[in-house]
Symmetry: C2
Subunit: 422 residues, 2 copies
């Protein structure tokens, strides 16, 4: 095995240029929501060269809509294909899904970028651009890992099912479609940008909208009205206490170093329309974290209950209850045991490749991992080469060495998990 | 005098239909900002019939801009004429300005109206419509008062200067233009909707905008950011305490029954743009009341000072100070002594006409009265027939009897103030 590991290491280092060029090509295709097909075309080309069995389809929103885990901001997935490419095993080994999303978030304000977000500039050992870290660099690591094994003449017993999915950034419809199409495996790995930390657990999250009512009046006689802004301060305070309560219950050592494991974030506030009128409506929009072992409905009910009790402390809310709406995006949480053999294998290979102990954590954000574990019943680990801090940010980048290290760790893990065939 | 008072009373009651028709005609002209000229045409027609000396001009924004009291939301007053009509006295008496604004605020959401806002429907002794109360009913009372005196064959010693001005609802550029054009008098009366209370003092007010900064981060790691919403809660609290402090100092008995004499109203809040991002900016817009005897700059400085000290309690504000901007509308406050002979005359005539004691109060909102007292140096009283509560509201109305009572009180006050000529 040591000889094979050495060969894989050598091959990956020697093919650094190939890996970087592939990443650059993927970054140059601006695969924001609805424009994924040209980036997928490159993925398909690479999978063909690897001799994989390729399945390309546009998810059917009619079918997806029947599943309670479906959320999306769009009605149709025409021209937004999912790609699944299978490296069939010889039989008798454990199978694995290697999943990465091809969609990227928009580049935002280009003035904040020091380079073209879709050029793929290389500087100081990094590739810059939208999607380098989140998560085209991770996808390249997956493909390079497969190619390295093939180059070493290795055949595996178990199937390796590579997935390049759409829609992760909008709630996971691409991965859900792959699950509903019947793709299953004994484990799944998603190389989202974790700074090479291993996330056996992933936080879920969902968005909420609150409407807080007041009573209008002239600002000069504001005592004749009821300010929805003042009432919203009370609601914000209630949410803060709910966050405190929820986080007191988190005992998971994976969250030991996280200041607020399951944050409730109020991201948007809007109320009133005239400086000298008492505002009669405030809208709050936010995001609540769902613990890896929590249920979506359980968390929704907890917030609903807390909001329904505020009338006991302020009778205004008895006649003017806060309206709560669960809207927009939602990410299902996911978790497997830290001692799960799949986690342990990645830990071991991380140490072999980097000579350092792997760090285990729980993700502070949602990924498609929740869908695999909760809907697909597939043990899933999120582990990838991207830099967490620059995901969704201007000047997003990835360290080339991290990408190669990650490819090496994944290649070794494939051998361990799926087993080398004779 | 009793005989004359009786004649005036009779004439006004007999001409109720004429007064109501004039009010309806004025309401039917939708004289919102920029569309005042057709309503002014009716005023001019009536003033011509009364034989007054008429001065019609479009205020010159270039001249106005040089005055520090000028505020407006528009650049030019083309097609928005001011009308001043003088009933010249025989000489030797005190002069008076009778001032009313012809502009109305927009009708707002017409679904909330039970009638056409610009029809002038009569029902149960009231005329309904935008501007009935604020303040075309008051303007009709002024014109009917003059006509009643003329019908009784009365000539006055002092000049009566009737003014139908634009722009009161946007900060008083019309009245300021009349002052700057040289119109002066020994007293001024503005029949704004006071529920027939006498306001020797009027609160001023001005708008402010606050920008409160935060630091953006992903909602899942909100502890890495600083929420501008949370910081704005602190700023709102500081404003609440400032309001408390300011109102503790108000000892004026005219404010004795007012819960918050000088309110600070936060009318608008807006912050953040994504539910799962930590918001890095919140904007608050509001209105601060300026006491009748306070200076505009003095109040501005007080708020600026309070905001500059919050960094002592929260060091975030040292590096990220709250930005304060004085923008938009502003109304100069005004005051005359309660014992001023002009106030006493109105009080006496109110009692004579209604058989009740007049109520003296200080207005909770700004009027053009502040410009007269502060800029024109003219003792001013605000006293009018409109219903305070429905000003700027859907289904605005005025009691016809109040309008006639007010006309009668004004007519008698003109005789007392300007003196009957032989």
């Amino acid at each position: 095995m040591e000889k094979i590991a050495g060969e894989i290491h050598q091959w990956i280092r020697k093919n650094k240029g190939k890996a970087v060029t592939l990443l650059q090509r993927l970054v140059q295709e601006k695969s924001v929501q609805g424009q994924e097909s040209s980036a997928q075309a490159i993925v398909i080309e690479v999978c063909r060269e690897l001799g994989l069995e390729i399945d390309i389809w546009e998810p059917d929103s009619k079918v997806l809509k029947e599943n309670e885990n479906f959320v999306s901001t769009r009605e149709s997935f025409n021209d937004s294909p999912n790609v699944v490419a299978c490296w069939k095993g010889k039989g008798g080994g454990r199978s694995i899904i290697l999943n990465g999303h091809i969609d990227v978030v928009p580049e935002g304000d280009t003035i904040q970028w020091d380079c073209d977000p879709y050029e793929g500039k290389i500087e100081n050992g990094k590739v810059y651009g939208r999607g380098t870290t989140d998560m085209k660099g991770g996808n390249v690591a997956l493909l390079i890992a497969i190619e390295a094994l093939q180059a070493a003449g290795i055949h595996l017993k178990g199937d390796v099912i590579f997935q390049s999915v759409i829609e992760e950034e909008s709630g996971g419809a691409g991965t859900l479609a792959a699950i509903l199409r019947g793709y299953k495996a004994d484990a799944a790995l998603i190389p989202e940008p974790t700074n090479m930390k291993i996330f056996p657990k992933q936080q879920g999250s969902m968005w909420f909208r609150l409407k807080i009512k007041g009573k209008s009046a002239h600002g000069g006689t504001r005592y004749e009205g009821v300010s929805a802004i003042e009432k919203s301060l009370y609601v914000i305070d209630v949410l803060r206490k709910l966050e405190e309560e929820r986080n007191k219950r988190v005992k998971d050592p994976l969250y030991a170093t996280i200041p607020i494991p399951l944050p409730i974030n109020i991201g948007k506030i809007q109320g009133g329309n005239w400086p000298s009128s008492v505002p009669d409506l405030v809208t709050l929009e936010g995001r609540i974290g769902v613990g890896p072992e929590e249920g979506i409905h359980e968390v929704q009910e907890e917030m609903e209950k807390v909001l329904s009790t505020i009338k006991d402390k302020d009778s205004w809310f008895a006649d003017h209850p806060v309206e709560l709406e669960w809207y927009g995006a939602r990410w299902v949480p996911g978790a497997i045991e830290e001692k799960h053999p799949f986690v342990q294998l990645i830990q071991k290979n991380y140490k072999d490749v980097t000579q350092k102990d792997a760090k285990l954590e729980a993700s502070p954000w949602g990924t498609d991992g929740g869908l695999f574990t909760r809907v697909g019943n597939i043990p899933t680990v999120v582990f990838g080469p991207g830099t967490t801090e620059v995901a969704h940010h201007p000047n997003e980048y990835i360290y080339i060495d991290s990408m190669l290290d990650c490819a090496e760790i994944i290649a070794l893990t494939l051998i361990d998990w799926c087993e080398k065939a004779k």
